[in-house]
Amino acid sequence: MTRLEKNDRLVRLGLLMIALSAISVLAIITLFIFEQGTPIMFRYGFKSFLLGQDWYPSEKSFGLLPMIVGSLMVTFGALIIGVPLGLASAIFLTEFSHRRLTRILKPVIELLAGIPSVVYGFIGLMFLVPFIRDNFGGPGLSVLAASLILGIMILPTVISIAIDSIRAVPDSYREGSIALGATRWQTVRMVVLPAARSGIIAGIILGMGRAIGETMAVIMVAGNAADIPGSILAPVRTLTSNIALEMAYASEEHREALFATGVILFIIIMILNTIANVTSTRQRKK
């Protein structure tokens, strides 16, 4: 073996070590969160965490159901708002508008994806919350406010990924459809969208991940009541805001319970991703 070859082997080994960093980080994070969060769940029983409705850590009552329901509601709400708007915009910008308009708008929308989430939360607090309070009633800090803000927040992600995947559909598909006498919309609906489906779904999954993981913007507009919301105008607390609201103050079992919240968040995200992933691959196979 020559010296050069030996060096190359060393480099390869070094790079392998570096390459394992990402998976190690993931392992360490998982380990730490579970190490901190699971003991208390064993002590009090998983059922009391997952199905308990009372969150009073100072009285050793750690029911996370309101937060689990809250996270799901708010994420679902964000998708209801963000997905139709985002998809419609993406279809419009790729199929119906002037190329020039698209060339201006797409970068603008992508730039907006970089705006920090706290800014979205702040705008929600200043404009959306008073608007909801004055026009629909309730405290304004609500499921509705949180869903709207998250829906807007995920718009840039959904739009730009949808545009990319719609553009990736070969023009020959469209030409074929139009040659058969289909209108532009029929072409989009029956040819382009099905072909771009997996990319679009990926964008939606990413948006969903962003919505369920968002913390600060939600704390600002959701009201954070640890109760299962009775209506979309009622305040709501998500898993993420539960952690961020109380982490700084918590000690001992309270802190462990917040890590348990982290564990549940972790698991929910994995489950959602898996479901979404399975559906998107299944649809791709069709």
Partner: protein, 282 residues
């Protein structure tokens, strides 16, 4: 009936087109509205003093210098750690191995890491760096936490950039007798640098805008950081506190404007770099 059927798609098309137009307008207007509100209220607050003075009286007075410095330090540490790791991983994945179980595991790790919410990173950084390693609430803890957070982005973009280097470059380099490492450092990386830089810049943007992970690892002390171990408040954390607690709306808008402008500039620079790079190549 027949006539109707023929007409219907046309009308449908018209209706849909108007509907799409409306939806797009709403989406774009809402996003632009946010930008306009921040800039309209924030720009009047910006002056040299705001950028060069430290916050006083809880941020009610003075500027935001210390928060800018803290943001820069934090971001710098994050990239210092994440860039070598990320680029190294990408090099390994693209140049030093074939698809195998190990590469699948590595990719899986990076991809899962990207899906983890920032608050979880915050919790983790708090336990590991702040508590276990006793770095305290500090720039170091915050920077390392952010490094882990942006690692997947850097891996992904670097991998894309390296993959995009034509195989012919490598073949020529090998045929001239270069080793793999020489090929990577002298041929592949220089060609892939713009793509890698894009990933790094994207990560800068993400680091600057992050709040949840930073507030639990870097703390929120309002003073000029003096060492790696000083606790500091970044711009976004400062903005969050100013806005949420109603300390001072003008200062909050000012901080938001600085935040938004720096992120916009960073993104525009990325675009510009990419465009230039694409032009040069073709």
């Amino acid at each position: 009936m027949g006539g109707q059927l023929k007409l219907q798609p046309r009308t449908e098309q018209k209706v849909i087109q108007v509907f799409m137009y409306l939806m797009t307008s709403i989406a774009v207007l809402v996003l632009v509205f946010i930008l306009v509100v921040i800039l309209k209220n924030g720009l009047p607050q910006l002056n040299l003093e705001f950028l060069t003075k430290n916050p006083a009286d809880m941020g009610r007075e003075g500027g935001i210098l210390s928060t800018i410095v803290a943001t820069i330090f934090l971001t710098f540490i994050a990239l210092l750690v994440a860039t070598p790791l990320g680029v190294g991983t990408a090099i390994y994945l693209t140049e030093y191995t074939v698809e195998s179980r190990i590469t699948r595991i590595i990719r899986f790790g990076a991809e899962c890491l990207a899906g983890i919410p920032s608050i979880i990173f915050g919790l983790f950084g708090f336990i590991l760096f702040v508590n276990k390693l006793k770095f305290g609430w500090s720039i170091l803890s915050g920077g390392l936490t952010l490094a882990f957070m942006v690692l997947p982005t850097i891996i992904r973009t670097s991998e894309e950039a390296i993959k995009a280097v034509p195989p012919a470059y490598r073949l020529v380099s090998f045929s001239l007798g270069s080793t793999r490492w020489q090929t990577v450092t002298r041929v592949v990386l220089p060609s892939a640098i713009p793509g890698i830089v894009t990933g790094v810049i994207l990560s800068i943007g993400r680091s600057i805008g992050e709040t949840a992970a930073v507030i639990f690892t870097a703390g929120s002390a309002l003073r000029m950081p003096t060492s790696l171990f000083s606790s500091s408040r970044t711009m976004s954390v400062h903005f969050y506190i100013l806005a949420k607690e109603g300390v001072s709306m003008p200062k909050a808008y000012g901080t938001a404007a600085v935040l938004v402008i720096s992120i916009l500039v960073i993104n525009i620079v990325t675009y510009y770099l990419m465009e230039k790079y694409i032009k040069r190549k073709s």
